[in-house]
């Protein structure tokens, strides 16, 4: 059993991935798909007159400012357009996909951050309270297994649900890592718009081919920005027993088959 995370950034070919998944599933591969939708959310938010705002935490992480209105747009794109678009394409490949958000059946639950500390555009450190972001702490594996056992392929998307029953924006890579370890999956494959972990971003020829599980920790210096969060997720997955984490290219023709054959950065 493997968990596949596909990002929402520009350049990723979801149709090619669904075709690839169709063939792999027909050959008996069991999998769970997790997806993002950030690029498309930025477009729709701007069109709806609520352009995306990004905040930088005091320790340098950038993330989407998620007030209640943004969350609504986030759900429209992640749970509506992207999720059902993927499910439709998988059904066309004869794969009986079922799309779920983390709210459905409390599939992904966790804690909403009461307040976040950011540096605003004028350099002032500020406390932000009405932000709906948080961390995934629990996965409803019985719902996923129930669907898998009955021949369905779960297609999972943020948001998650907080213990106060509020939808919360959570990082898809960290969620995929927790899903992989909770399900005791053999592999976690993270497809994005880069060939894998790059020694010096954005030079694609500086692809790192292989990292031993033990050394992945000190690899953190190589990872910048979003990639740092992805590597954080990989470290957690490996620590909780996932045998292999692969960062691979989501832009190529058979992205998943290529990753399973050792393409991209293999950790573990």
């Amino acid at each position: 059993m493997i968990v596949v995370k596909v990002g929402g950034s520009v350049g990723i070919d979801l149709a090619a991935l669904c075709q690839d998944i169709g063939e792999l599933v027909r050959n008996g591969q069991q999998l769970v798909l997790v997806h993002g939708g950030s690029a498309r959310t930025n477009e729709v938010a701007a069109q709806l007159g609520h352009p995306p705002q990004f905040v930088t935490s005091v320790s340098g992480f950038t993330s989407r400012r998620t007030d209640r209105e943004t969350l609504r747009i986030f759900e429209m794109v992640y749970c509506g357009e992207v999720n059902k678009g993927i499910v439709e394409m998988l059904q066309a490949q004869g794969v009986n996909a079922v799309g779920l958000s983390g709210i459905d059946g409390r599939l992904l639950s966790g804690r909403r951050k009461e307040a976040i500390k950011i540096v605003d555009e004028r350099g002032r450190r500020m406390v932000l309270r009405d932000d709906y972001t948080g961390t995934v702490e629990q996965v409803n594996t019985s719902l996923i297994e129930l669907l898998l056992e009955n021949g369905y392929l779960p297609v999972i998307t943020p948001p998650a649900i907080s213990d106060q029953n509020e939808a919360i924006n959570v990082d898809g890579d960290r969620a995929a890592a927790l899903i992989a370890s909770s399900l005791k999956a053999e592999k976690l494959i993270i497809l994005s718009n880069v060939p894998g972990l790059l020694r010096n971003f954005p030079d694609e020829s500086s692809l790192i081919r292989q990292i031993d599980a033990a050394q992945v920790g000190q690899f953190m210096e190589h990872a910048q920005g979003r990639m740092r969060i992805k590597v954080l997720g990989a470290i957690e997955a490996i620590e909780q027993g996932v045998r292999q984490v692969v960062f691979a290219d989501g832009r190529i023709a058979k992205p998943l088959s290529a990753a399973l054959a050792g393409g991209g950065t293999v950790i573990g």
């Binding site: 935490s57 005091v58 989407r64 951050k113 307040a115 500390k117 932000l128 709906y132 924006n169 959570v170």
Partner: protein, 57 residues
């Protein structure tokens, strides 16, 4: 000038009017603890919340 006591060390903190906004974080000049300006009129200070990693999409 607006002033209030640091909730941690009781030291008096003075801020020039108009030089700060609600929700802003400052460090107590005496004990250095991080404080949040929870209201402007009157100036009220509370310990700033802990920093938490991990962010949304």
């Amino acid at each position: 000038m607006a002033n209030a006591n640091c909730p941690e060390c009781e030291g008096v903190i003075e801020l020039a009017d108009g030089s700060f906004v609600a929700g802003e974080i400052i460090d107590c000049p005496d004990c250095g603890v991080e404080l949040e300006i929870t209201s402007v009129q009157p100036l009220t200070l509370e310990l700033a919340p802990e920093e938490e990693e991990d962010w949304g999409e």
